[in-house]
């Protein structure tokens, strides 16, 4: 029966090639624009660590109080050095790390190689197990290294390739700025995007970090943050004044595995802020936040408004294309009222009529989907030229996208066909036979 309906459908579609082409093109363009924008949107809104995103939390402590820069009643998204170090000392979560972005200059022993600046992070030892960071050689440093401000470093696979030709460099030393550090581990490929651990201060889609140093060692070396440093009052001269200031520039994250741990941490933050208020450091009531990773990405507005607008408008385009298809299918189906009347009179059930036209709509959907696939491919090529490189690299075509595009086209067409099919099944055979 299915095959017969296919033949009927094919014949009907061929009988009116203009109308068929119009429908296929409407579905194709509608689906392609939505899928192109969806690909970009998905690239930017992906979960960078899906197996753990509900366990990672980002505490915020209001170190400024009410001030004109405030966004509503929200505390700043970064922390002061004082608060970050206090929280590390109290160590109330299973795993936690304060961090800030650095950009030391890497010197090579090989005189033919130019020195380069390497993007990196100053973190605590628990950063690596907390984020399940994969290691190729060695591992992170220890808590004792944190306390002793040890000169150790974790480097990326890429940097290891450049400095040591990809060999196991654990125990070797590297030159950063004018100091030497012992390599404790080499990362495997690791470049989560958006770079969620560093949202407070930098670009969500920056280059991969290549050097990780102990936070304590980095502040010893007076390494400055390479990005956001926000103050409501400026500190006096010198690095020590920066550390003691109310300027916010440190990111902070904790791992909390159960809801009771989450509420306990909430209580702890509340208590900490109360203590600060009691000691006179904060002149305002506690105003803390403890967002999990999805909420943090949303708060950090990782997906720019422009991408969201484009996605919404592309979906609207698909809607119009569907309305268009409803009209055209209706015209097409009802034009064949005579044929329907004959089939009904010869004993075809309503269901059979519905199946016949459903198959015909499905064929339009598949063809529209194939056209949509080509146009989506074209759309993504065009988008690659107009997106920042890091995001363009994420917005790629994969098998899943192919299936999604086809599926969307078929679902959209069948949805659009529901009403025309319903009308077709209610064509009264007697009336049609009489008229003809």
């Amino acid at each position: 029966m299915f095959k017969y309906y296919m033949q009927l459908g094919l014949r009907s579609l061929r009988r009116n090639p203009m109308l068929t082409a119009l429908m296929v093109m409407a579905i194709g363009f509608g689906v392609a624009s939505s899928m192109t924008m969806y690909t970009v949107f998905r690239a930017m809104s992906g979960d960078p660590i899906p197996w753990k995103s509900d366990k990672l939390f980002f505490p915020q402590i209001d170190a400024w109080g009410p001030n004109p820069r405030q966004n509503g009643n929200e505390p700043a998204d970064a922390m002061t050095y004082v608060d970050a170090v206090s929280l590390m000392r109290d160590h109330r979560a299973h795993l936690q790390s304060a961090l800030y972005p650095i950009a030391p200059t890497v010197h090579s022993d090989d005189p033919t190689q130019k020195s380069r600046t390497a993007p990196g992070q100053a973190v605590y030892s628990e950063f690596f197990p907390m984020l399940d960071v994969p290691f190729l050689y060695g591992g992170g440093w220890t808590g004792a290294d944190d306390e002793q401000h040890a000169r150790v470093a974790v480097i990326s696979k890429n940097l290891n390739q450049r400095l040591f030709g990809g060999t196991n460099s654990v125990g070797q030393s590297i030159q950063l700025d004018s100091r030497s550090y012992r390599v404790s581990g080499v990362l495997d490929d690791w470049h989560p995007q958006p770079k969620f651990y560093d949202l407070a201060t930098t670009d969500a889609f920056g280059p991969a970090d290549q050097v990780f140093l102990p936070f304590t060692t980095a502040t010893d070396a007076q390494l400055a943050t390479k990005s956001g440093f926000l103050c409501i009052n400026l500190p006096g001269p010198g690095y020590a004044a920066v550390l003691n200031s109310s300027c916010v520039w440190i990111g902070y994250m904790v791992e909390l595995d159960t809801s009771s741990q989450v509420s306990a941490y909430h209580t702890y933050l509340e208590g900490y802020a109360h203590e600060q208020q009691a000691s006179g450091r904060f002149g305002w009531a506690p105003n803390n936040r403890l967002r999990d990773l999805p909420a943090w990405l949303d708060f950090g507005q990782v997906v720019p408004a422009q991408t969201k607008i484009s996605f919404v408008v592309a979906l609207c385009l698909l809607l119009v294309c569907m309305v268009n298809t409803v009209g055209l299918l209706l015209a097409k189906f009802l034009r064949r009222s005579g044929e329907i009347g004959v089939r009904r009179a010869l004993g075809a059930s309503r269901l059979a009529i519905a199946a016949q036209f459903g198959v015909e709509a499905g064929m339009i959907g598949v063809t529209g989907g194939l056209l949509g696939l080509m146009l989506t491919w074209l759309g993504i090529q065009v988008m690659h030229g107009s997106l920042p490189r890091q995001i363009a690299a994420l917005a790629h075509i994969n098998l899943l996208l192919l299936w999604q595009t086809l599926l969307l086209a078929i679902v959209a067409t069948v949805l659009a066909a529901l009403y025309p099919i319903w009308r077709a099944t209610y064509v009264r055979p007697s009336l049609q036979l009489k008229e003809d």
Partner: protein
């Protein structure tokens, strides 16, 4: 011709009529918002920065091995900056150069609060740029009042501590917002946490802030030049080249800097964020990349939308013509001219379009409201709705024209021909 028969005919094609009207309404709502967004983006991208943007380039460089926290280290750094600048200014392609941390549109925003008294609330705020006596000439900023910095006024900034230079140059916008009576020159202001005042010695016509995300006018145009040279290992040089020599200078500038210090770092990426040497054209393109992409997408989507809608109207109209061949034949046989028949279909289309457009205007504002709530867009101006209305009405008529003409060609004999 009375529209009564048309209306009663439409009543018999309720669904098709509603579908076309709905499609016109949705298309109108989306297209006028899209046009409005495009216009907004172009206005944003078209704003002049106040700089003479041709023949400007910026180069990033980092020196290491110098401890900038000691006085000896600072002296070394300062000497090397001076040597770099001297070397740059002697290049044949270069007219002038100075050291900067950021430029308009270059990203990275350094801002300060401002007040007219050493205490109390900060009434205003400004983006500040490091500058020396070469800055105005290098950037091509137009001084409208007062004077340039003198070389003996240029101090050092190690990026720590409070900023309180004795003299500053401000943008006209900032001057007017602080001193609306137009007497800003010679007045004193206090920056964040400053105890010493800074005197306004010059006013430049216009200078944009370094970020394109600054929503308000005051965030965008309140800018200040401070007479400070940044003495830190990581820095930028801004270079004005001879006319048409930007490309050549982008090659010769890094070579000259490496000659001064082979150990320094100039990132060698090109075009993107990680590029060490960027022309101002590249900086501008990068700054507005998202806005340009949005405008392009809105344009493409609008064109597809209009094409799909026109095709849909043409398709349904010709279906109706086909369906009514016999009635048309009867009317022709009863004396209607072919012109009457064509007019009938065009008026029918006009009636449907009118209904669609009316609903579309409401939808356009609803959609605009929703966008405003979510994305900080401004209110849709009625002009765009009017343009959209005319555009869609004409589009709809054009789409119906071919089927209407085909209807007009139907011969009276169709009245008696069996389908």
């Amino acid at each position: 011709m009375s529209i009564h028969p048309i209306l009663s005919a439409l009543r018999r094609h309720k669904t098709g009529t509603i579908l076309i009207a709905l499609q016109i309404a949705l298309t109108l709502a989306i297209v006028c918002n899209a046009l409005f967004i495009i216009r907004t983006q172009f206005e944003k991208m078209g704003r002049p920065t106040g700089l003479d943007e041709h023949n400007l380039l910026m180069v990033a460089t980092t020196q290491s091995g110098i401890d900038s926290s000691t006085d000896a280290g600072k002296a070394t750094l300062d000497a090397s900056i001076r040597a770099d600048l001297t070397a740059l200014r002697q290049l044949p392609d270069v007219i002038d150069a100075y050291e900067a941390r950021s430029l308009p549109l270059s990203g990275g925003l350094w801002g300060l609060g401002l007040r007219l008294m050493p205490s109390g609330a900060y009434g205003s705020h400004t983006t500040y740029f490091h500058a020396d006596e070469h800055t105005l000439a290098t950037l091509g900023l137009r001084l409208v009042a007062g004077r340039n910095f003198r070389s003996d006024e240029i101090g050092e900034d190690d990026d720590f501590g409070v900023l309180q230079p004795a003299v500053i140059i401000v943008s006209q916008h900032l001057a007017d917002s602080l001193f609306p009576r137009g007497d800003a020159l010679g007045k004193q202001i206090y920056f964040t946490s400053a105890t010493k005042p800074s005197t306004i010695v010059g006013i430049v016509e216009r200078m944009q802030t370094s970020s394109t995300y600054s929503g308000t006018d005051s965030r965008t145009w309140n800018t200040t030049l401070v007479p400070l040279r940044l003495v830190t290992p990581s820095r930028h040089y801004v270079v004005r080249t001879r006319p048409g020599r930007v490309a050549a200078a982008m090659q010769s500038v890094p070579v000259a800097l490496y000659a001064q210090d082979p150990q320094r770092v100039i990132p060698d990426g090109s075009g993107g964020d990680d590029a060490g040497v960027r022309s101002f054209a590249q900086i501008r393109a990068k700054a507005y990349q998202g806005d340009r992409t949005l405008a392009m997408l809105m344009g493409v989507i609008s064109i597809i939308l209009l094409a799909v809608t026109a095709a849909g109207i043409a398709g349904l109209s010709s279906f109706w013509v086909g369906q009514r061949r016999r009635q048309i034949g009867v009317r022709r046989a009863l004396g209607a001219t072919s012109r009457d028949i064509a007019r009938y279909f065009l008026i029918e289309n006009a009636l449907i379009s009118t209904a669609g457009v009316v609903v579309g205007i409401v939808l356009a504002y609803e959609f605009n409201n929703w966008l405003m709530g979510k994305f900080e867009l401004t209110r849709l101006s009625p002009a765009y709705v009017m343009v959209g209305v005319v555009l869609l009405f004409l589009l709809s008529q054009c789409a119906a024209l071919a089927p209407a003409l085909r209807a007009a060609r139907i011969a009276p004999v169709e009245a008696i021909r069996s389908s």
